[in-house]
């Protein structure tokens, strides 16, 4: 293992985060705070409890997940896309490092960043609504698992994209709708039964459900299923990344 190379990539990516602090940390925190104001305080005050917790409290796990998901994808996809775009990828490809080390460096940094962000948003939420976390260890497990999985997914998008448009396309057209329809703002049980069935095909439902369970012990699907689905998606992403590096897809010709 070329640990120094992993460290170099990881620190390089983290340095990029601190350099773009406003964009990478401040702006997601501001937009999440707005969600709390609008949904939690303004609209939420007119909604009675959802499954035994107040609406403002209910949406916290979903909102954290929403940010962690989208930020993981955008961090990781940009992290690997930009060297491709700027041409600096030549150095990564010519260095004595394995593909696994490249992935650990980039995905590790992207996941770290979104975990930090998730925790900051959680703390911000605590300013608006009373928070109670039943299973902190599981909460962290879901957080880390999701951050890693979606950073890997973002890495795949970053490699696949050959223009800024494609880089934005999947997050905008696929991930955002799935997240909004994934039960961030409501319980799946509130949907008509036909829609409920359709919803179960949405992988984000499992993430948010499991994550919310770690807070309030309320879940749309069983926790085991949530964990299993997340792990399955993680493995799928790993398989794709392995294939990318074996074939040199969009990296080497």
């Amino acid at each position: 293992m070329n640990y120094r190379a992993i460290r170099a990539i990881y620190l390089f990516e983290m340095a990029r985060t601190w350099r773009t602090l406003l964009q990478s940390i401040v702006s997601p925190v501001v937009s999440t705070s707005l969600y709390f104001v609008v949904f939690g305080a303004a609209i939420g005050s007119r909604i009675t409890e959802v499954e035994g917790v107040s609406y403002g409290t209910f949406i916290v796990p979903g909102l954290v997940m929403l940010s962690v998901l989208t930020q993981s994808i955008s961090n990781a996809s940009f992290g690997i896309y930009f060297p491709k775009f700027a041409g600096t990828i030549y150095e990564i490809l010519s260095a004595p490092i394995s593909y696994l080390e490249i992935v650990i460096g980039y995905v590790g940094a992207a996941a770290t960043k979104s975990i930090i962000l998730g925790l900051i948003i959680l703390a911000t939420a605590g300013l608006f609504v009373p928070l109670h976390i039943q299973h902190p260890v599981w909460m962290l497990t879901f957080l880390v698992l999701t951050a890693v999985t979606f950073s890997l997914f973002g890495f795949i998008i970053g490699i696949w994209a050959d223009g800024f448009e494609k880089l934005q396309m999947i997050p905008m057209l696929v991930v955002t709708p799935l997240t909004f329809l994934g039960g961030s703002f409501y319980s799946v049980n509130m949907l008509p039964s036909g829609w409920r069935t359709i919803t179960l095909f949405n992988p984000v439902v499992y993430l948010i459900s499991g994550f919310r369970w770690s807070f309030y012990e309320i879940a749309d699907v069983s926790v085991g299923l949530s964990l299993g689905m997340t792990a399955a998606f993680l493995i799928a992403c790993m398989v794709i990344v392995a294939w990318i590096f074996r074939t040199g897809y969009r990296l080497k010709n």
Binding site: A15, R16, A86, E91, L93, S94, P96, I97, K252, N253
Partner: protein
């Protein structure tokens, strides 16, 4: 001595079916400066990219210091520093950070003293804290060289190092290359500038349409290039070369108004003075004269243009 770089039967066919390299065989000795010349699209950059691990070979093997570039890529790549043709830099990083990053990427422990030396040698020391985006093109080029040297490579690839670089900076770059060679680094450079190859290289290879068509010691090539041609325009038409001038092997032009004389600038005597004397004695008057050197460029153009 076994070569430090050994390319055998290397071919590259792109997905489009374009054959960029066709059965390249090339050995490069430790410590030499090898210049690879060739027109645009000849395959120079493709060859370098494959050796450095940026592109995959379609066929053939490459060994760096005895290490196969695919099976033993870590050992092979650790020995190489690459300065690509295009200026690819991280605009918002500082010079110091980007050069240190390269060293880490190649798995070397931190060594600020070495980085300082590299930056000083390349006259970048006072720019070490500047963001790369604020540097001029020539400085960015030097930053890329600094990155390539950050991990103390034994082989340095310079792909068109002086393209778009002003004369003074080019001379400075040559100086850096010579210092590196003196420290034992093997250098492979591609260039469009023939004079650069003449100035720098120990050996010269010419690549065209994916094939290496000439590899020769520069000294041997230069000897071939030592020949010069003197053309004398005559005031009056000459029907034949007078027998008194037969020893000079003069060539008379078709219209009879010019003669040409080949001589060797490297020889002890060029024979020009005696030729001019003998011409005057023969009563031949000269209206103009012109000398011409067949340069590496001529040889280069003639081999590359050949069908």
């Amino acid at each position: 001595m076994s070569p430090i770089i050994s390319v055998s039967n290397l071919s590259k066919t792109y997905g489009s079916g374009f054959k960029a390299l066709k059965g390249i065989n090339l050995d490069i000795a430790k410590g030499e400066i090898f210049a690879l010349l060739g027109p645009n699209g000849a395959g120079k950059t493709t060859l370098i990219s494959i050796i450095c691990g940026i592109a995959n070979p379609s066929q053939g093997t490459i060994k760096i210091g005895g290490h196969d570039i695919i099976r033993d890529y870590r050992a092979a790549r650790s020995m190489i520093g690459l300065v690509p043709q295009e200026l690819h830099t991280d605009a918002f990083e500082s010079v110091w950070a980007t050069v240190s990053f390269s060293r880490g990427l190649f798995g070397k422990p931190k060594n600020p003293a070495h980085i300082e030396k590299v930056l000083r040698d390349l006259s970048l020391w006072d720019k070490k804290d500047n963001k790369i985006i604020t540097l001029s093109g020539g400085m960015k080029r030097r930053v890329m060289i600094a990155k390539a040297l950050s991990h103390e490579p034994q082989i340095l690839f310079l792909d068109e190092p002086t393209a778009g670089v002003d004369v003074e900076l080019r001379k400075g770059m040559w100086e850096v290359v010579r210092t590196l060679q003196a420290s034992g680094v093997t250098i492979i450079l591609t260039t469009h500038y023939i004079e650069e190859a003449e100035e720098m290289a120990d050996r010269i290879g010419v690549i065209n349409k994916g094939e290496i068509i000439l590899i020769e010691d520069k000294a041997t090539l230069m000897q071939k290039l030592g020949k010069k041609e003197l053309t004398l325009q005559l005031q009056n038409k000459l029907d034949a070369i007078p027998p008194a001038l037969a020893a000079y092997n003069l060539e008379l032009s078709d219209d009879g108004h010019a003669v040409t004389y080949d001589y060797d600038t490297k020889g002890d005597r060029t024979g020009i003075t005696s030729l001019l004397n003998d011409l005057r004695n023969a009563g031949i008057r000269i209206s103009d004269l012109d000398t011409r050197q067949s340069s590496l460029e001529d040889i280069f153009v003639s081999i590359v243009r050949a069908p």
